[in-house]
């Protein structure tokens, strides 16, 4: 049950910080490890309130993950927080060996993920994180869409006794409709946001909101009804939901704030193609090129991660099919 004030318009990483404050107040074993990242992680208040439950390692991501793994192995409930770009690249070997391989149940928290940092450029973008973490055994990958999913994901991650990567952006996110699956959020199970039978939009993280708006527009302007799914868990992927979608048989478009290689789209495609899916399938994501300069929203629009990008593609494949 939600205990955080989930007003629309909060960044998911701020909801993460509020949730972890609530967890820390109830359990002194909840520890946050930061790499000079408490400001961007909205954890300044946490640090002031719970100085004994925050460990600062400085700008040293390898050390961040190694120390977090050590703490977790000694029984602490550990959130290792760092910008996703550094956490999942600089410290990838520590994630692979010290967290996943050694099975130390660290909650890796990638903040300002994807292209949240916009014009700060490629050094600060994480468009590889799904791909590299999907290729590591014993790693759950979750990119919540809104405040509700974020709080649930953080709380459920604490119940897990295995490693998990939580991916958050810094954009203010509206709450998605929650009518279909009221208060139903389970790591590993995709969440149906809107039901339809003409086309299926599978999105993750901050792109779910865009997919939902595109679905509304398709319905309003063209009478096309879409399934919109928040596939918040990239791994393990919800195969039973994909089975249902295959039975339904409509074309599928995936949308993600990630390189088109190795992310949500390819994960879905791999399962679908091996299990007899025959309809149209398209992936919307960041192309394999030097990413265009711009704000997050400009970058999204450039690569078709936008209401018009999704509706145009949906119309195109529906006409063809």
């Amino acid at each position: 049950m939600a205990t955080i004030d989930v007003n629309p318009g909060k960044p998911n990483q701020e909801v993460f910080a509020e949730t972890v404050e609530s967890l820390a107040s109830a359990d002194r074993n909840v520890i946050v490890v930061t790499s000079d990242s408490r400001g961007s992680g909205k954890l300044v208040k946490f640090g002031n309130q719970y100085p004994d439950q925050i460990v600062e390692v400085g700008i040293a991501e390898q050390n961040l993950v190694g120390v977090a793994a050590g703490l977790a192995s000694a029984g602490k409930i550990v959130f290792a927080v760092s910008p996703a770009c550094f956490l999942t690249a600089r410290a990838l070997e520590q994630i692979k060996n010290d967290v996943a391989y050694s099975d130390n149940p660290v909650k890796l928290v990638g903040i300002s993920a994807g292209v949240s940092y916009g014009a700060l450029g490629t050094t600060h973008h994480s468009l590889h994180d799904f791909a590299v973490l999907r290729a590591i055994h014993n790693m759950t990958i979750v990119a919540p869409a809104d405040a509700y999913e974020t709080e649930q994901a953080v709380r459920q991650s604490v119940q897990m006794n295995s490693p998990v990567y939580l991916r958050f952006g810094k954009k203010n996110m509206a709450l998605l409709p929650n009518e279909i699956n009221q208060n139903e959020f389970t790591i590993g199970k995709g969440r149906l946001i809107k039901a339809g039978q003409d086309v299926c939009l599978i999105a993750t993280g901050e792109t779910v909101q865009i997919a939902y708006e595109a679905a509304e527009k398709l319905e309003h302007d063209h009478g096309i009804r879409s399934n919109v799914i928040s596939m918040h868990t990239i791994k393990p992927l919800d195969y039973s939901l994909l089975d249902e979608l295959m039975k339904q048989g409509c074309p599928i478009i995936t949308i993600e704030e990630h390189m088109i290689h190795g992310g949500l789209g390819e994960a879905c495609a791999s399962y679908l193609i091996q299990n007899g899916f025959h309809n149209k399938f398209k992936i919307i994501g960041i192309c394999d090129e030097y990413t265009v300069t711009g704000s997050q929203s400009e970058i999204f629009t450039h690569y078709g991660i936008s209401v018009s990008g999704i509706t145009d593609l949906a119309l195109k494949i529906l006409i063809k099919s």
Binding site: G66, A74, N97
Partner: protein, 270 residues
């Protein structure tokens, strides 16, 4: 354990290291022989850890950061009763848990290591948790000298002293050889004592193949209150087998039948 008993243990362990590497036709011979006296003293004279209480939150921890010398750890753990020594006959064989680097699938091993520069940050985390929980356990980690070139060690050196982790002890197996050449030729880490002192550690140097000196030094921990302890253990790579000592080729050399017999004869004649 008495000095005499420790010396005898080291001789036994060296024989077993050679025996199982010879059987497996694989292993890191030189480094296992250089660090075995350190492991011997830790497990037989210093640490509070046993197979029966391995899950105790109060146990001392040993993290072998130089994971490639796992054969040294295997023979000590087998001797301490963590698993039947016969298991080591499967070393590096298909589907064996006894692989060429430490894994938690083997009873008695704390963390999966092998990639270098990982043991110290892990140990810092475990030592921090001990401080948070007011536990009395101590964390020991064994570093290789070639491994000190990994930057993650230096990140963790800073964190350990910043958090006053006097329950942490890092031991450097300073045999001065790595796979390419001498350590000094590869990256020149000296002056190690000055570097570590300037990073806020309390430093001592010992003969890392002298069990009595090791025992005395480890019993003096922590060297300074509120400071993590660093032991520079001067060792000889390939120690105990004359034709292997200080020879780079024995980093992961496997003895032939003749060499194996020669090694065992030499160890038996001490």
């Amino acid at each position: 354990m008495s000095e005499k008993e420790l010396i005898e243990k080291s001789r036994l362990y060296r024989r077993k290291i050679i025996q199982y590497i010879y059987m497996a036709k694989a292993g890191h011979t030189g480094g296992s022989l250089s660090c075995i006296d350190i492991l011997n003293v830790l497990y037989n004279d210093i640490m509070n850890v046993s197979p029966e209480h391995f899950n105790s939150p109060d146990r001392d921890r040993y993290i072998q950061s130089k994971g490639h010398s796992v054969e040294a750890l295997y023979v000590v753990l087998a001797d301490k009763g963590f698993f039947p020594e016969k298991d080591l006959e499967t070393l590096c064989k298909y589907q064996s848990h006894y692989i060429g680097h430490p894994t938690k699938k083997v009873h008695g091993i704390e963390q999966n290591t092998g990639a270098l520069g990982h043991g110290l940050p892990l140990s810092v985390g475990i030592a921090l948790a001990g401080k948070m929980d007011n536990k009395n356990y101590r964390v020991y980690t064994l570093l290789g000298d070639g491994e000190l070139a990994e930057g993650s060690n230096w990140e963790a050196f800073l964190t350990a002293s910043h958090h006053n982790l006097d329950n942490l002890c890092a031991i450097l197996d300073y045999n001065k050889l790595q796979i390419t050449s001498t350590v000094a030729q590869v990256y020149h880490p000296e002056p190690i004592p000055d570097k570590l002192k300037s990073f806020g550690w309390a430093v001592r140097e010992v003969n890392g193949n002298d069990v009595e000196e090791l025992s005395k030094t480890l019993k003096a921990l922590p060297f300074e209150k509120d400071k993590p302890s660093f032991i520079i253990a001067h060792t000889t790579k390939g120690k105990g087998i004359s034709y292997m000592e200080n020879e780079i080729k024995w980093h992961h050399g496997v003895p032939s039948e003749t060499q194996f017999k020669l090694a065992i004869e030499e160890l038996n004649s001490i």
